[in-house]
């Protein structure tokens, strides 16, 4: 694209080009260029799931890490965990936050509550007021086809004045070859700007799977 910074359109008074702020009359080629730069706004497309990043097991990526999450752009993030297969048997799946783009993951001060059950049938609940993580799922098996899949909605990550929260739901094939559900919520007991996320097994590593982070756009 040629350098046409701030010269799109020809309506006098200074046409602009930015996501959510396009003014002026634009040539077709201008629109194509601005779409490629994600600076062209179509009202009907505003407000949607917007891809942020994906962390996928590659042989060396043993945890699902997100060191950049566009926390200031969204009040709600959605993290989808797929086919999370653990090296060790009977593992929990944990979520941790970071305030330094995941140079370190915070390992204290979480609170969470959840219900879970399996096709035994069994049903139970668990909770913590001061934990090293938010526990998302447990008893994940490590045989073939045993893994964890789930969705986490994350709220207020980028607001330094508010605590950050999540709701989650997981479906697991567990270490006893049973189907297992988990649902619940968690939070970090500090009001900080969260700018990193990490999904890890309770011990060991993942050896398959992925996690994909989206932002839920408001405008």
């Amino acid at each position: 694209m040629s350098d046409k910074s701030n010269i799109y359109g020809y309506v006098a008074g200074g046409p602009t080009q930015a996501s959510g702020s396009n003014t002026g009359v634009f040539e077709v080629n201008d629109i194509v260029d601005l779409l490629a730069l994600d600076k062209w706004t179509l009202q009907d497309f505003d407000g949607k799931l917007e891809y942020i990043a994906r962390s996928e097991y590659t042989g060396s990526t043993t945890h699902f890490n997100f060191g950049s999450i566009s926390e200031s752009s969204y009040s709600t993030h959605i993290l989808v965990v797929e086919n999370a297969h653990t090296v060790n048997d009977g593992q929990e799946i944990w979520l941790r936050f970071s305030t330094d783009n995941l140079s370190t993951a915070i390992a204290t001060g979480y609170k969470w509550t959840q219900n879970f059950g399996d096709s035994g049938p069994n049903h139970s609940s668990s909770r913590s007021q001061n934990s090293s993580r938010i526990t998302l799922a447990s008893a994940v098996g490590n045989d073939a086809y045993e893994c964890a899949n789930g969705v986490i909605w994350l709220y207020n990550l980028g607001d330094s004045a508010l605590q950050s929260h999540c709701t989650f739901e997981f479906s697991v094939r567990d270490q006893n070859a049973r189907n297992r559900y988990h649902f619940g919520g968690g939070a970090l007991n500090n009001n900080n700007t969260i700018n990193g996320l990490q999904v890890i097994p309770g011990s060991g590593n993942f050896n398959n799977g992925s996690a994909t982070l989206y932002g839920l756009a408001r405008a």
């Binding site: 949607k48 709600t76 605590q163």
Partner: protein, 173 residues
């Protein structure tokens, strides 16, 4: 603007609001909706309830029902239920904690604009109140009238500022 896309229908940030009437937001372009509440907070505790709008007005009749699991970090589960309620109360919609406590909630609303069906709500809500308490509420609600629902009315226990209420639709046509 294609089938299957999640689209923003309406976006609101509360400012000194004692109620919020969305106007007409439900139609046959979408069948399922997400009402997403984020940055749920205020300078003091508040609560929030919700009614559906039919025929241009909020339905104040005893037409609402709910059943939820109320989970916490300091006690076992509770199972509040309600039948013949005059609104979806704070247990299914939201409590509004005081800063820095906060929360998030996504309500999935099924088929509000179909005249031959009830309108169903699925709730998934996490919030904190007063160290170190955390709540997670999960369950359902139903508006027990086969009416065309065109919108929502939110009511707050006192004037409130800050909470974001956004409505998304899953495009079907």
């Amino acid at each position: 603007m294609a089938v299957g896309e999640l689209e923003l229908v309406q976006s609101n940030t509360l400012s000194s609001a004692s109620s919020l009437n969305t106007g007409v937001i439900f139609d046959d372009l979408y069948q399922d909706y997400v009402v997403n509440l984020s940055n749920i907070d205020d300078s003091a505790d508040r609560s929030m309830s919700m009614r559906v709008i039919t025929g241009g007005s909020p339905d104040t009749g005893s037409n609402y029902e709910y059943a939820i699991i109320d989970m916490a970090d300091e006690r076992g589960d509770l199972n509040p239920t309600g039948t013949s309620q005059t609104n979806f109360g704070d247990k299914i919609v939201s409590e509004i904690p005081d800063v820095p406590f906060s929360g998030g909630n996504h309500l999935r609303i099924n088929s509000p604009a179909i005249s031959t069906q009830y309108t169903y709500v699925i709730v998934s809500h996490t919030f904190t109140q007063t160290y170190p308490l955390i709540r997670h509420r999960r369950g359902y609600g139903v508006y027990k009238q086969a009416n065309v629902v065109t919108g929502l009315e939110f009511q707050f226990s006192a004037s409130t500022t800050g909470t974001k209420i956004d409505i998304y639709g899953l495009r079907v046509t």
